[in-house]
């Protein structure tokens, strides 16, 4: 079970959080201009990376705020947590 650093509340146990998967998937500006396959990429397709991954978490049993984690899916190491408006923290050098 991770310890997650909520950018608003500080470090808390994972049990206080929920995730909705990959972060930085922006809803298309004008969906009507997309073809079915492009729209499907937004709705269903994910990078599902083995390695450093940016994902969206919410402090659901806490402040209720959404934020992003930079976490390594191959080791579960967490490199950074940041608010949606923050600049992207860089990927750590080590691959795992």
């Amino acid at each position: 079970m991770f310890i997650i650093d909520c950018p608003w509340c500080g470090t808390r146990d994972q049990s206080e959080f929920t995730t909705h998967g990959e972060a930085h998937i922006t809803r298309p500006e004008d969906p009507e201009t997309l073809d079915d396959a492009e729209w499907a990429q937004y709705v269903f397709y994910r990078n599902n990376v083995k390695g450093w991954y940016r994902e969206r978490w919410v402090h659901s049993s806490g402040c209720g705020r959404w934020f992003n984690l930079l976490r390594n899916t191959a080791s579960d190491a967490i490199a950074a947590s940041y608010r949606p408006e923050d600049p992207l923290p860089p990927l750590p050098e080590d691959s795992y």
């Binding site: 079970m1 310890i3 146990d13 969906p31 937004y42 709705v43 919410v58 659901s60």
Partner: protein
């Protein structure tokens, strides 16, 4: 074995009586069940898993493969309890398991005769004929497997969880753990020291007590005997406010970021009664962890190495020195290292005749010299190859080794022995390190894996880190304690370590690799995993059959898969595999260490969440009224909702018929408090609603309500409800009962991540408001009688909202209807919910006001063709499928899910569409879920048109009604279709119709 006159750390003044296999015995306080049984001469304790061979106690620790008992009876009965870990208590009752009729005469030991037919994995090769007989074979296989018996009764005991944050968690209270705790504790670290034993001290307790110790060789720490030093150290730690000692606590899990879990057994020395807390599950977050988990001594693999009377050397030493046992007249020792000579000296001290078979060609151990002087017979360069005896060992056979370590076949030697102590090295207990994804490295000098690297804040000390003498353990614990304190940022004068006097530790320890002794000319079974009856032949067979990976060999032979999880045998299996493959051990690899370290009580894992404390129910503010008036409830999520209110003699059907007629003719009252409610405020509410719902919200005036459906991005209906405009920038949204949390979650996610500049606040107010719905022709009369606010049809028309004071309670009234009747949904602060309900019941009495539950609500809305999300839709239904295309704005440029509606499959014609169905016979009410076909005869497998989503007998119409989703349904109006009864594939003729059955024009609700 028997109890000696003196020595040991048991309390000879406190006798304890217990029963084993129906016989009464006596032990002493401080005994384990195992030591007490051995003291009473009980050697045979159980039968093995597969061959039902007689088995005795082999160790004195958690690695014990055989010494398992069925503890206690009735609801307190527990299978597979390790006698070696169980403190003796007054009245303890235990028996052997996996044997019938008893441990001395076990019918299934007949398996031994057929053992040639039962090699590793034999069951994969047979039992395939006749084809359908596997279930029959399996029944017998299951019966002979399985060890102990589960109590069929609910566990009467109590458990709880404790969460603890600490600077430093030290696991293991032996020599290294104690010096680590002392050092770090003196430097001020907040420490928890956990040890799996009731009595901390680890191997310190295996040293002779002061009264019997031999001054020439005795270990002294600060001038004290190990036991005395241990007592003094524990007292010092106990007195430190920053140290918490947790005896009888096994840490079983090591997870992410130093999250460790273990169970503490409380009051183990009392017979279980259900009156006390039995176990605590500790969940730690530690800044630093020190593993001082010790090492487990293993014995080598040789012929009949499972006989009762064979014991690991250190364990035998423990039984002598810790529990004050006499070992027996003749003891043989088989070793490849020096530690066994400590045992030899203790044996000599208590008067045993000692034969030592040493696998090595030489040793410079001072203990060995002394043992020789004191009369031990030492046979160097030799190996035990077999032993004989039945229910207990009698003779030990050995051979001399040739220079290439093969057997000198002519050199067979036999000695008689009551006990054979074995030692082929110590396996560091690296389970937790490995669980935490730490890496291991193989150390040739100790022939074992030790901790290498780890990414979390953990250190290892003592014999789990490869230290193989007491002095080293004490020293490395001390150093590691200081290191942990440093890592914690604690400074201060470095504490000093006790002075250690351990004469026999001062020479180079030599371990000669030994996992399996070459077979002599006999066919004796050579066990690798004693508990699972996995043999060296089995491992060789697996290898021969192509199972190359150590993981595959484990699975094929079941090596290491018993309750001990291979603590004794796995290293031997790896050694044997390396031998067969001709590879060095590190290239063979090791199997994964999985949690828990030792079996962990499910009761402790469940904690207090049992016996009515599992998942609190969510009652409405009016719940107790429903209870008092005989309501039958249904679970919806965590809510309890009143389903119907049966009167005397009524079943559900009758109650629902009565309740729904009352709504249609006078007035019904309904508790709608579970409805999801979200308060929306801010200038961008309209923008938000326009994105969430499929219809347009720009023109909804203040004081008006509107129904809407929400789609997920996949274009399917996922929630619906009415949202009302309370003020210019203030809306009250309702959702389904089950959808409340996810709708709010979604709104928040979109607002915080996608539309971050939109100014809307969304707040869940589900629990803030109690909702009482009045429905029926008399609803207005009743409501008007308790309020001064005008609620006539002109002032408060259909789909309008007003604030009012009802029976003295400030309320919000929404004129919305889920029944098709004149209806008011009255929201009051939750604490007034019951008062409002009662006031309305009083006011409505003369009209015959009737409480109705969810079942009637479902019937009434079905008469109107209103969908219930989750019942008439299932996540595959588009607005058009549900007949709600009119709710989808054609003008809005975008809303959630809009784009998906255009996809080829979502937009195609002929999809399943919501329609009504009536039964042609006018009587039959179809079960919900019934499937519909085109033809009168059902011949499965066949295509279905769709299924019935809702079905009731309508009392107001006096015929059955149903809603269904049918392929191309709306084009089938008036067609006859058939509903299939799976019991006999008979069918019922139905007619497809409009799903609105009652008051199609909708005039009643507007009235």
């Amino acid at each position: 074995m028997q109890r000696s006159e003196q020595g040991g750390h048991i309390d000879r003044n406190t006798p304890i009586s217990f029963r084993f296999n129906g016989h009464n015995y006596t032990g002493f306080d401080g005994d384990t069940l195992a030591s007490a049984l051995l003291a009473n001469g009980v050697q045979l304790v159980g039968r093995s898993f597969k061959y039902h061979r007689p088995r005795g106690i082999m160790t004195n620790g958690p690695e014990e493969p055989n010494g398992m008992v069925q503890l206690e009876t009735g609801a307190y009965s527990q299978p597979n309890i390790l006698a070696t870990m169980l403190p003796l208590y007054e009245g303890l009752e235990a028996k052997s398991q996996n044997c019938w009729p008893n441990v001395h005469f076990d019918l299934l030991s007949i398996n031994q005769l057929f053992s040639a037919l039962l090699p590793a994995g034999f069951y994969y090769k047979t039992f395939m004929w006749p084809k359908d007989w596997w279930l029959w074979y399996e029944k017998w296989i299951r019966r002979s497997a399985g060890l102990g018996v589960a109590s069929k009764l609910p566990d009467p005991d109590h458990y709880c969880h404790v969460h603890e944050h600490t600077d430093l968690l030290i696991i293991g209270g032996g020599a290294a753990g104690l010096t680590a705790a002392l050092a770090a504790g003196r430097l001020g670290a907040k420490i928890v020291l956990a040890d799996e034993r009731n009595a901390m001290g680890g191997s310190l307790l295996n040293e002779p007590s002061a009264d019997v110790a031999d001054s020439e060789i005795a270990v002294q720490i600060d001038g004290l005997s190990p036991k005395e030093w241990r007592d003094q150290t524990l007292a010092e730690l106990q007195a430190m406010p920053n140290v918490r000692l947790l005896p009888a606590t096994t840490i079983t899990h090591y997870g992410h970021q130093n999250h460790l879990v273990g169970a503490q057994r409380i009051d183990e020395k009392q017979k279980p009664s259900g009156q006390r807390l039995r176990q605590i599950l500790w969940r730690f977050r530690a800044k630093q962890v020190i593993l001082a988990t010790g090492a487990i001594e293993r014995g080598p693999v040789f012929g009949n190495n499972d006989r009762p009377g064979i014991m690991t050397s250190g364990s035998l030493r423990g039984y002598i020195n810790h529990y004050g046992l006499d070992a027996g007249r003749n003891v043989a020792l088989f070793t490849n290292n020096d530690s066994a000579y400590r045992t030899a000296l203790d044996l000599l001290r208590i008067g045993s005749t000692v034969q030592i078979i040493d696998y090595r060609s030489s040793t410079d151990s001072p203990d060995a010299r002394l043992a020789l002087q004191r009369g031990a017979i030492i046979q160097m360069n030799a190996a035990v190859t077999n032993c004989s005896g039945g229910a207990r060992i009698r003779e030990v056979h050995s051979h001399q080794l040739n220079p290439d370590d093969t057997l000198d076949k002519k050199s067979k030697r036999t000695v008689s022995a009551d006990i054979l102590a074995v030692s082929s090295g110590w396996t560091p207990t690296v389970h937790l390190w490995s669980q935490a994804k730490g890496t291991l490295r193989f150390r040739e000098d100790i022939q074992g894996y030790v901790p290498d690297t780890i990414s979390c804040a953990a250190l290892a000390a003592g014999s789990c880190n490869g230290d193989n003498t007491l002095s080293q353990c004490l020293q490395s614990g001390h150093q590691t304690g200081i290191e942990a304190a440093k890592r914690l940022g604690l400074s201060g004068a470095e504490p000093t370590l006790a002075t250690i006097h351990a004469p026999s530790d001062q020479h180079e320890q030599i371990v000669k690799p030994l996992f399996i002794v070459p077979a002599a000319q006999d066919k004796a079974k050579r066990f690798v995993d004693v508990q699972n009856d996995s043999t060296a032949a089995g491992i060789a067979l697996a290898r021969r059959e192509g199972f190359r990976s150590v993981e595959l060999v484990k699975r094929y032979t079941t090596t290491g898969m018993g309750t001990d999880q291979g603590k004794l045998g796995n290293m031997n299996a790896i050694g044997i595999l390396a031998d067969i493959a001709g590879k060095p051990i590190p290239e063979v690899g090791i199997t994964t260490y999985r949690p828990p370290f030792t079996p962990l009580s499910f009761g402790a894992l469940g904690g207090a969440s049992r016996k009515g404390l599992y998942e609190q129910i969510r009652p409405t503010p009016i719940h107790h009224w429903h209870v008092d008036h005989g309501a039958i409830f249904e679970d919806v999520g965590d809510w309890k909702r009143a389903r119907y209110y049966p009167q005397a003699g009524e079943d559900m059907y009758q109650a629902v018929q009565r309740e729904s007629l009352a709504v249609r003719t006078t007035c019904g009252i309904f508790d709608g408090s579970t409805l999801g409610k979200i308060d929306l405020q801010g200038p961008d509410c309209v923008k938000l609603l326009n994105m969430l719902y499929t219809n347009a919200w720009d023109k909804l005036p203040v004081g008006r309500c509107r129904y809407g459906i929400m789609l997920n991005e996949h274009g399917m209906i996922f929630d619906d409800g009415v949202t009302s405009r309370l003020d210019t920038h203030h809306y009250h949204m309702t959702t389904t009962t089950g959808g409340a949390a996810s709708v709010l979650g979604w709104i928040e996610e979109m607002l915080q991540t996608e539309w971050r500049d939109w100014q809307v606040h969304a707040t869940s107010v589900t629990d803030h408001w109690a909702v009482v719905a009045l429905n029926g022709p008399k609803a207005r009369d009743i409501l008007q009688s308790v309020t001064d606010t005008a609620i006539d049809a002109e002032t408060l028309p259909f789909m309008a909202y007003t604030e009012a004071n009802i029976a003295g309670i400030p309320a919000r009234i929404f004129r919305i209807s889920f029944t098709g009747e004149i209806a008011f949904e009255i929201n009051v602060p939750a604490r007034y919910g019951l008062a409002l309900w009662q006031a309305l019941m009083v006011a409505g009495k003369e009209y015959g006001i009737t409480p109705y539950g969810t079942e009637t609500m479902h019937l009434l809305r079905a008469e109107k063709g209103f969908i219930i999300v989750g019942q008439d839709t299932d996540g595959t239904v588009t607005p058009d499928d549900a007949g709600l295309d009119w709710l989808v704005s054609k003008k809005k440029p975008d809303f959630l899910g809009k784009r998906s509606l255009r996809r080829s499959d979502s937009a195609r014609s002929g999809r399943k569409q919501l329609v009504g169905l009536t039964t042609n016979d006018g009587k039959t009410v179809l079960p919900e879920g019934t499937h519909i076909i085109e033809t009168a005869t059902a011949n499965p497998p066949m295509q279905t048109l769709g299924h019935v989503t809702s079905s009731y007998y309508s009392p107001v119409l006096d015929y059955p009604i149903a809603m269904a989703v049918l392929r191309n349904g709306r084009a089938r109006m008036g067609e006859t279709v058939y509903a299939v009864n799976p019991a006999d594939n008979s069918s019922t003729a139905m007619t497809v119709c409009d799903p609105v059955f009652y008051d199609k024009e909708g005039g009643k609700a507007r009235g």
